[in-house]
Amino acid sequence: MRVALFIPCYVDLVSPEVGVSVVRVLRSQGVEVFYPEGQTCCGQPAFNSGFFEEARGAARHFLDVFGGERFDYVVCPSGSCTTMVSHYYPFLFRELPEELERAEGIGGRVREFSDFLANVLGTEEFGARFEGRAVFHCGCHQRRELGVLEEPQRILRNVEGLELVGWENEELCCGFGGTFSVKMPEVSVAMADEKIRALEKSGADTLVSCDPSCLLHLKGRLDRTGHGTRVLHLAQVLDPRRGRVG
């Protein structure tokens, strides 16, 4: 099985350690991993802002880099970027038959990280150890468009030492929403604060998600308000070398 990594731009540039953990976890399962170096960004920032033409440019580039039959799967450590490709590329190209076909061709093969582990590899137990009490935050696209809500939680329950706890209104958006976080900052932060209050109530010391952008937002607010909560991507929790390498 040939698996291409799709590392979203902000993981590439801001939190590359998430990508590194993804590689380690996949390799530990015997997956041969490729990283097409021409990749950049899926186009979501332009798309969410209504700049569809510019987003189409990004999408065409993505299809050039990952399209065709070169890879069996494209794995991405972000529910929201996965949705952009699998769900919104067909939407963007709905009136352009040629591109639509290419987009639909790749759509089913682009899989969010935990979805790939649980549903393609069929593995939910990785022999990981982690001391802590954690809540899981499911990104909105992952929950609603992808419907991958239970898989990451089952995976977390198999982590030795980790206690997964529920939290209030867990289905509520964290308030990131791409450019929404910048255009409507006060409301966006009020949404984050509601999550943080629920986090405090849950007694968890760790927040885990499969969406680096939600983590970026919540961590940004936690740090600003002086919280000590650990914020991690699922891949980092599962990383076989976690704790040994920074």
Partner: protein
């Protein structure tokens, strides 16, 4: 509470005035802890009820599908169904008027009031009449008639007394708690009333009873209109709807043309969905079916029945990519689940319709310029689409509206340049990487203790309230090249 007419109008038309956008209004709401508590209380209760009532239905998802398809069919043949509806109403002795605009509705009702020598008009709750500000305009434009237009839904009445617009489609004064309500009603009573729900309701009942008996005309909305039979269906929880539609000699229905369903049996689908999703009830307390004026052998009902079928911008959505917005049955459940609405309440939207559906239909009905902010007042989380009983993809419609603004050149030069640059960079990996290297250098003076704490506008929107991690020393691509073990 004492507001001048102009102030009140400016507030209601906040969007049109362009003085203050969503952010400004939201800021005020965010600073109001009482509002926050009221919203939390209401939404928690309603959503719990909704979940329980839907769980009782073995076929809830199927019902949703059916609702969507019925609406789709209705819109595809709207002309024909409107004709059927009109014929059926006229056959039963009612009058039908097609109103192109809100103006037309106001004129029709105003002239009717003149003809009847009406003084008191009672109303039951109707978003369509809120949309066209019927009360204010009747009182202003037909000032010489000295009309008194009284809302009789308890919440609507209190909002009217407070000079306030409804802040929720289903629960108009959801933003007020009982202390605030007691203050409003005390002002009317001329004596302090206790913040006790029973006492306040008792006072309202006594006052409104006088109005019910004095009314010359009763105005209601319509939850559904059945084309096949010409029946208007009203679902309510207060008895006021029945008093408004049957006591005065004249009953006027103001109905948006999209409220049509083709057949009587379609109501089985919609009435259930509306009650369960809107308030968490199996059925509302009253479900009335009204077909024309009182018949010769009937004991009650009005002598005259007028059905106003209001377009007001709706028909221009037919056959477009925004048509699904017309499927809405105004259950209000997308408001309750919307994380933005839950923080800000309805007034932040500055329009009659708030929450996700308001953010969609306000620009569609009023124009993109008038409601430029609204399509952006969403994180696009999709909770609205998930909850909508008719399956309207609200978040996709919001995206399409954002795109329409871009096409119309409303997004602004700065954004146009930024996203053109974005496209250039993501299509050319070398440029993308050069940009990243440049960013790493440029960020140096901004990084303190491993975080970026302050960025210039527009990015200050982030850093005013949140830390931002700096660009990493080495990108993933560089780490990959070095080899990951």
């Amino acid at each position: 509470m004492e507001k001048t007419g102009t102030e009140e109008r400016a507030r209601r038309e906040g969007l049109a005035s362009g003085v203050e956008g969503f952010n400004g209004r939201a800021r005020r709401a965010l600073a109001d802890p009482e509002l926050h508590d009221s919203i939390a209380l209401f939404t928690r209760k309603t959503l719990k009820g909704r979940a329980a009532r839907l769980a009782e239905l073995p076929d809830a998802p199927e019902l949703r599908e059916r609702a969507y398809h019925i609406k789709q069919e209705t819109m595809a043949n709207l002309d024909r169904y409107l004709g059927q509806m009109a014929d059926a109403v006229e056959a039963r002795g009612g009058n039908v008027f097609f109103a192109e605009t809100g103006e037309d509705v106001v004129r029709y009702v105003g002239e009717l009031a003149r003809e009847k020598g009406a003084k008191v008009i009672t109303k039951s709750k109707s978003m369509a009449t809120e949309e066209i500000e019927l009360n204010r305009r009747l009182e202003e434009e037909y000032g010489e008639l000295g009309l008194e237009v009284v809302e009789t839904d308890l919440g609507e009445w209190i909002a009217q007394l407070a000079g306030d617009a409804p802040s929720h489609i289903v629960a108009p004064i959801m933003h007020m708690n009982r202390h605030q309500i007691a203050r409003v009603l005390s002002g009317v009573a001329g004596e302090p009333l206790p913040p006790d729900v029973k006492a306040l309701a008792g006072f309202a009942r006594r006052r409104l009873r006088e109005k019910f008996l004095a009314a010359d005309i009763g105005i209601s909305g319509a939850n559904f209109g059945v084309a096949q039979t010409g029946t208007v269906c009203l679902v309510t929880n207060e008895g006021n709807g029945r008093l408004v539609t049957s006591v005065p000699p004249v009953h006027v229905v103001v109905m948006g043309i999209e409220k049509l369903v083709p057949r009587f049996e379609d109501l089985e689908v919609f009435v259930q969905l509306l009650a369960r999703n809107g308030t968490g009830q199996k059925l509302t307390v009253y479900t009335s079916f009204i077909t024309g004026p009182r018949g010769a052998d009937e004991l009650d009902g009005p002598e005259e029945f007028h059905l106003i079928l209001m377009d007001n911008g709706r028909s221009k959505l037919l056959g477009t990519e925004f048509e699904e917005a017309l499927y809405c049955i105004r259950c209000g459940s997308c408001l309750n689940v919307c994380p933005v609405y839950r923080q800000t309440g309805g007034h932040a939207y500055g329009s009659t319709y708030s929450g996700p559906i308001g953010a969609v239909i306000t620009p569609l009905l009023k124009g993109d310029r008038e409601a430029k902010d609204l399509p952006h007042a969403s994180s696009l989380c999709g909770a609205c689409w998930e909850t909508c009983p008719v399956g309207i993809p609200l978040h996709d419609l919001l995206l399409k509206l954002r795109n329409r603004q871009v096409d119309e050149g409303l997004a602004g030069k700065a954004q146009e340049i930024a996203f053109k640059g974005f496209e250039e960079a993501v299509e050319r990996p070398a440029l993308y990487r050069a940009g990243a290297r440049l960013g790493r250098v440029a960020q140096r003076p901004l990084v303190r203790d491993g975080s970026v704490r302050r960025l210039p506008p527009p990015l200050s929107g982030w850093t005013d309230f949140r830390d931002l991690p700096p660009l990493a020393e080495r990108s993933f691509r560089e780490l990959w090249r070095e080899g990951i073990d």
